[in-house]
Assembly symmetry: C2
Homo-oligomer: 224 residues x 2
């Protein structure tokens, strides 16, 4: 029997009902041998909970419109992000496998699924606040400065509206003596050759992002 004490220490949660942890890490080949539940039901629960927690976080912390929020969330909960979070906790090492599967050297552990089943188990054992804290600590920490990738969003919006690519940027440096050291780059964004917005920033990237964000806002409001 695998002990989950090390995992509990790592995530800072001692389970009231340890059977939930066993369920969260039971591969179906393991649960089949014992006629118990595999992690898939908890993964089902954890998946929707994760989407809600991250959506709620973005809704509360970002002013972006729905399209940008959706894209930011997709980036935050994508398979590779969940795998990275799962691997930082070494979740795969706790997987409970059936006898045959243990011998299968080609078997790839779906650690992203384990992240979700563990989240489901935390919620069942400790409630929403504990689940939220777990996600913020293991998935969102270090990614606090959420910025939508406005340049990509603008490109997509132009492609969708005009059925062709046609976004260009022009950069100019503003005399630092006039404005100090901040935001000394100004970018103008052109859609199909027409200047639609400008934005400023400390470097090319932030200036172009600001210009794209303003262009998107204008397109959304029918002004561009």
């Amino acid at each position: 029997m695998t002990s989950f004490h090390e995992l509990e220490a790592r995530i800072g949660i001692r389970f009231k009902n340890p059977a939930l942890l066993t369920e969260a890490f039971s591969h179906k080949t393991y649960s089949k041998e014992r006629n118990t539940q595999s992690y898939e039901r908890l993964e089902f629960l954890g998946d929707s909970l994760l989407n809600f927690i991250v959506g709620d976080y973005l809704y509360s912390h970002c002013d972006e419109e729905e399209g940008a929020l959706t894209k930011m969330r997709a980036d935050l909960v994508c398979e590779s992000a969940l795998k990275a979070a799962a691997e930082a906790l070494d979740l795969g090492s706790f997987l409970l496998m059936g006898e045959e599967l243990k011998k299968d050297e080609k078997f790839n552990i779906h650690s992203d699924d384990l992240y979700e089943s563990l989240l489901g188990a935390i919620y069942c054992d400790r409630g929403l606040d504990a689940a939220r804290a777990f996600v913020e600590k293991t998935l969102l920490a270090g990614r606090r400065n959420f910025r939508a990738d406005y340049k990509s969003l603008l490109q997509e919006a132009v492609q969708k509206k005009y059925r062709k690519n046609g976004v260009d940027y022009d950069l100019r440096e503003i005399d630092p003596s006039a404005i100090g050291d901040e935001d000394r780059f100004e970018s103008t964004v052109y859609v199909l050759g027409r200047a639609v917005a400008t934005g400023r920033g400390r470097n090319r990237k932030t200036a172009e992002g600001a210009a794209a964000a303003e262009a998107l806002r204008k397109m959304d409001h029918g002004e561009a």
Copy 2:
């Protein structure tokens, strides 16, 4: 200015922050005229919250495996189900539209979106428990006897595994004197001509459903 008092009475919630209700019913043509937020951000939040609430409900109330839970949820939160719930509350009549849109006789209100944005607003104003109570009362009530459609699920599973259709049922009536009036029908389900499971019920439908559920369980566990 539309008054939301009637809606608040209808849903039994008096908002602490009525601005959330205005946001939840602001079409983008309305918010654009006022430079405020449309309902789309709350709809983004409400959509993921709804999936979580219904998923949590099914996880807690049903023993089915992940595939069946996913299908049951999809049925419960499908567009037509949300529209029916929205129409029972007459949510469309509270939509705040821009001046041009008011004149557009062809405009179709997306009342399913309003159900989600209202749910998001309830959550922001009153928290998870109030949001959960709202969903249970307006969407899940009257649909308490969740039964997965096992016959459809079995058909899909057989199609997926064998790449052909081949599910048949045989019904027989059991002598009532032997078992009383309950479950007097017994169905045997055949997959590609082979009898794999039987099930009993009060009528053909429940007997066949029970047989299909047992066949699915066996397939899941590699026994059929």
